[in-house]
Amino acid sequence: MINIQATAHQLPEILNRYSADYIEARLEESQSSHISYRGRELDSIGRSSAIGGNVRAMVKGAWGFASFNDLNELPGRVEIAVKQARFAGNEESQLAPVEPVVDRLWTEQDKSPVAIPLAEKKQLLDEYNDIIWRTPKLQTSFIDYGDGYKRAIFLNSSGSYIEQDRSDIALRFTAVATEGDEVQQAGLSLGSRGDFNSIQGLHQQIEEMAQHSVELLSAPQAKGGEYTVVLDPVLAGVFVHEAFGHLSESDFVYENDRMREIMTLGKKFGSVELNIVDNATMPGLRGSYKYDDEGVPASKTYLIREGKLVGRLHSRETAAKMKEKPTGNARAINYRYPPIVRMTNTYIEPRSASFEELISDIKEGIYVKNWYGGTTSMEMFTFSAGEAYMIRHGKLAEPLRPVVLTGNVFTTLMNIDGIGNDLDMNQGGGCGKGGQMPLPVSNGSPHIRIRHCLIGGR
């Protein structure tokens, strides 16, 4: 096996040979395993290992980037990155100043889920699949389990040298029920910072998910139109991530005068109850780390405080260009990509309302639960609920087919008129941006209530 530490030792000398405004290098080695089921049968099981790295150079405001699997080619790749940057650059390089850091944090190896024997993982998943298949009218099921352990070395031309590691687990279940020509599905998505215990003991949740897919066969479709909706913590977490979080990523804002106008600090976005936070310093979550992929220390950043825009997420470059402080939010999914501005653990802070209080005065509304997917195009967002129920006269009523919610970010945030007391962080899924997906993140919220939300339907 090639040793990335040994390669890293030679790097400062190699980087020194080239002149650029800034150069950084990243080396990674990782192991992963996956198990998937399609229907009753195991579909795929395997193990992978990878070694790779990249070099990123900045010359006169432009980046050159070279990634590689073959570490022996390293000097040549440094040369390509510097040459490309030189080629593209024609203005002044701007990077927010950061103190060089030397830190060695390879601490999670003992907890690596990859090391757990495949037999043990398979046995647990077999149990879960058996539960799904005990459900009548169930047509098929999908289970995708993946884990990984990655160690990385980051170093740059300012003298930083950081060793960090991370373990990760992602698990998704889908149950598909059919009757005649009807096909309905329900899903459950989970993740953890490598802690295998966190995916044990899910038997009851999985049974409910499978039963829900069958219930949907006879559930009516929501009538399209505007409703008061109450979101559970999982879906509200997706909402805060999609609808607002992506707007806070400064790489879209910093070179865009109109977006800068819209996202002016101090501007009112919601009621005084509304606080939205991105926080990579929370221990043990999938979006957590000590240093980002530019070697900048992680931070807790208030995006909205008491309804007003107070902050945003930065890389070193966006921070410098907007004359703000770097927040340590530059992340890359792996060595094949340059870091870009990303969220970490993003959530709405809890307030005092109970769930009962949130629904008690709704005459006709919709309660939406669980994550199915979500996407945004800055102004507009769309997200879909895995479960939906009518709310009638302050009480939960009949289940509905899954619904898609959509709206304008700015008006929807203003329309949040109730925030619950039950913050819960959802670790399932992953975030995609700029072709980099899935990036481990978490998002969360208490139950929230939104007025005038547009629901798709017939």
């Binding site: 090639i2 229907g39 195991l42 579909d43 795929s44 395997g46 193990r47 992978s48 290992s49 990878a50 790779g52 980046w63 050159g64 980037f65 990634s67 590689f68 699997n69 073959d70 390509i80 940057a85 080629f87 593209a88 495949l118 037999a119 398979k122 047509q139 098929t140 598909v176 059919t178 096909v183 309905q184 599905q185 399209g224 139109g225 070179e255 865009n256 109109r258 977006m259 819209i262 094949r336 340059p338 199915y372 979500g374 996407t375 195009s377 800055m378 102004e379 507009m380 769309t382 997200f383 879909s384 899954p402 898609v404 959509t406 304008n408 700015f410 547009l454 629901i455 798709g456 339907g457």
Partner: protein, 433 residues
């Protein structure tokens, strides 16, 4: 590779080694300016074995640690599914041109010029638009050998130019875009710019639609984004085998409008999704999926085909180093004879859908789709009058494609995966704010 195969053969009855290496150079523009030039070298090797009748699998980014690859493949074979297929013996492959050596020699300067030319043309029309453009070239080598003597080795080139333009006025945002790809170097940006300018023209004014069922024209982009993903899932042999495809038991039956023809085709020369062989060494073929509205085939890899008691259609693909699985190469819908303008002039009040957001989030398997119209236009009295906003559409692909008012005569590629004309559908549910 041969050494790895030899070592694996000692540990298992059958073995297959698949190796890919690629060199990719993307040039990226952000906010109208050249931002990034990248060079990405990557390689991986995948070892699949059959040991005691069961499949084992391991991948790595380097060949050097052969022993460990064989060891982990053997470990996974303990739990692997039973292999129902045989690896292919030596076989002739169709001659499908997918390499143009000229791609490799296109200089970064030329790529930058293409991006600049495209952005300049778009900004000449709309000066305050912000463009993210990408010009990319890639050369890939694939090599597969197996213990039955199967051996396929080919190189492929790809070149693409794409742009997304966003126009922001107050809190109103408009997204337009187009992408073109080929195995040849692309030297022209005119057609891409024209498509983008047409979108900008059509979206110039604002219009609103009522909440009710309306006739809808899906442009080629609209078809590819909203209607093709459920079909790709439904025609996947694995979905069929699991009983989750709504058309799985309808082989030979009339399910769609009689005007509709659809096939999967990896044999078109110089298309980036074309290839002489799939990732298991099965020769490529064109597979008819819908003929005159009848379901005619599903797409299979070796294992899925064996489980379904049929033959592989040469659709075994590996995504990111995974085990082969059935996957479409390029979905082609046969053009009809109605022009886009004829469709529009037929509509008194209706909608043109260019891009749906969230279209893939619904119950894909059941064919339901639902999404916000990210880019779409209102039609009034036979004319496009402007862009609609805050509008949701929802429907079911199978109901929609059962009765098509007309199939367009102007087919085009949308990305590399889909070639389709516009489709004109008589009713779709629309909800507007």
């Amino acid at each position: 590779m041969e050494q790895l195969l030899a070592q694996a053969k000692k540990a298992a009855e059958e073995a297959e080694v698949f190796m890919v290496s690629s060199e990719e150079t993307p040039v990226q523009f952000e906010a109208n300016r050249l931002k990034h030039i990248q060079a990405k070298q990557s390689s991986y090797v995948a070892l699949r074995i059959i040991k005691e009748g069961k499949i084992g699998y391991a991948t790595a980014t380097e060949l050097s640690d052969r022993q460990n690859l064989v060891k982990t493949a053997v470990e996974t074979a303990n739990f692997g599914m039973a292999a129902k297929f045989e690896l292919p013996s030596p076989t002739p492959y169709p001659d499908i041109e997918v390499l143009d050596p000229k791609v490799e020699s296109v200089s970064v300067e030329e790529m930058i010029d293409l991006g600049k030319e495209l952005i300049t043309a778009i900004r000449k029309h709309t000066p305050d638009i912000l463009c993210e453009a990408g010009v990319g070239k890639e050369t890939t080598s694939l090599h597969l050998i197996n213990s039955r003597g199967g051996n396929i080795n080919y190189r492929q080139s790809a070149f693409s130019i794409g742009v997304i333009g966003y126009l922001i006025r107050n809190t109103d945002m408009l997204f337009v875009g187009e992408i073109e790809s080929s195995c040849h170097p692309l030297t022209e940006t005119k057609a891409i710019a024209e498509e983008v300018l047409q979108q900008l023209e059509r979206a110039r004014n604002r219009a609103s639609v009522p909440t009710k069922p309306l006739p809808v024209v899906f442009t080629s982009h609209g078809v590819a984004g909203a209607l093709i993903p459920p079909l790709m899932a439904a025609f996947n042999g694995k979905t069929v085998l699991n009983g989750a495809s709504p058309i799985g038991n309808k082989l030979g039956q009339l399910v769609f409008d009689k005007q509709l023809w659809l096939w999967d085709d990896p044999t078109i020369a110089y298309r980036p999704e074309s290839r002489p062989s799939d990732d298991e060494g099965i020769p490529s073929q064109r597979t008819p999926l819908i003929e005159q509205g009848r379901v005619t085939n599903f797409l299979y890899d070796l294992q899925t085909a064996a489980l379904a008691h049929t033959r592989s259609t040469g659709n075994g693909r590996r995504s990111q180093g995974g085990l082969p699985a059935p996957s479409p190469s390029a979905f082609i819908i046969k053009p009809g004879n109605t022009t886009f303008d004829e469709m529009i002039s037929d509509i008194k009040e209706g909608l043109v859908i260019e891009q749906l957001m969230g279209a893939e989030q619904g119950n894909i398997l059941g064919g339901d789709f639902s999404g916000n119209v990210l880019l779409g236009y209102k039609v009034e009295n036979g004319k496009i009058v402007g862009r609609v906003k805050d509008t949701m559409v929802s429907g079911n692909v199978y109901q929609l494609l059962k009765q098509i008012a007309a199939i367009g005569s102007e087919a085009k590629w949308v990305g590399g995966l889909v070639n389709t004309p516009p489709l004109y559908c008589p009713h779709l549910s629309v909800a507007a704010k």
